[in-house]
């Protein structure tokens, strides 16, 4: 991959280069974050955090993967970190309620479903599907979201997840199987 001229410009603190980078990648990062979080403000926070991280650590970027892969990797890491932090804060909810700190609590299953890219007629079912996706193991969830929501190829996902293409394929197959089980349980309890 190596250090491209664009990365060199970013390292030199070129504001125009950074603006171009944000404009090129902001929708991809936001869409990835919303795939994990399904919440507008939280996804915006994560998108912002990703670019701040890019701004701060581009000097340390070694160029052993493409800029796109690196940014996607950050988007996935920050989204998962956000979910973990929210769950941790939720567990210590009483303490934070006492100190008036509740702004991180509304996440995924508790918050109303939000994804502006889903067709209106599919919204209700997609909300159920995303709730099931949030119950998948992290690697299956990541592969599934990057493939189905962000529309990346297995090859691109393999690079982002630092794994092989066959592993990604296997993760997606297992994710689909698990989702079928979860949806089946949901149907038995709610739709019959």
């Amino acid at each position: 991959m190596g250090i491209t001229p664009a990365i060199t410009r970013l390292r030199d603190g070129d504001e125009q280069a950074f603006r171009e980078l944000v404009d090129e990648y902001r929708d991809r990062v936001y869409n990835t974050a919303i795939g994990f979080l399904q919440h507008q403000e939280n996804a915006e926070d994560v998108t912002q955090e990703v670019f701040v991280e890019v701004f701060r650590s581009v000097a340390r970027f070694r160029g052993d993967c493409s800029l796109s892969t690196w940014i996607y990797r950050l988007a996935v890491q920050k989204s998962l970190e956000y979910i973990r932090t929210s769950r941790r804060v939720k567990r210590s909810g009483i303490l934070f309620t006492l100190f008036g700190k509740e702004d991180h609590l509304n996440i995924a299953a508790d918050a109303p479903f939000y994804h502006p890219g889903i067709l209106l007629e599919n919204k209700e079912r997609a909300a159920i599907l995303f709730r099931a996706i949030s119950l998948l193991p992290v690697t299956q969830r990541t592969a599934f979201i990057l493939h189905k929501v962000e529309g990346l190829s297995h090859h691109e996902i393999a690079k982002i997840m630092s794994t092989s293409v066959s592993s990604v394929e296997s993760l997606i197959v297992r994710a689909n199987r698990k989702l079928r089980e979860l949806l089946s349980d949901y149907y038995e309890k709610n739709e019959r």
């Binding site: 929708d27 915006e44 932090t85 889903i118 962000e150 739709e191």
Partner: protein
């Protein structure tokens, strides 16, 4: 059974035709502001956490000092060391006045 399979397939296919969500066009300004003047929520969360912990510890220390002062001044605490402990905890061994 068939209805259930259809429902599961329809739910799994509900992501078909999904469009990419678009972000705030003013994101660059926010990122620039955050990168130059960091005030992230994460730091705020950590700060609140540490301040809460510090407040709890200070409160505990203050209560300990107050209770120590109170017992020191009380009439039961006539001696010091073993005598004080004996007065406080072994009061039931004192002879009963009839």
């Amino acid at each position: 059974m068939k209805a259930k399979e259809t429902w599961i397939n329809d739910t799994l296919n509900s992501l078909e035709g999904i469009r990419r969500a678009t972000s705030d066009p003013g994101l660059f300004i926010k990122v620039q502001a955050e990168a130059l003047h960091p005030m992230s929520k994460k730091r705020g969360f950590k700060g609140a956490y540490y301040w809460s912990a510090a407040a709890c510890i200070t409160l505990l220390i203050a209560l300990n000092i107050l209770s120590a002062l109170y017992y020191h001044q009380s009439e039961n605490l006539t001696g010091s060391g073993v005598a004080a402990v004996a007065t406080d905890y072994l009061y039931f061994l004192r002879p009963v006045k009839l």
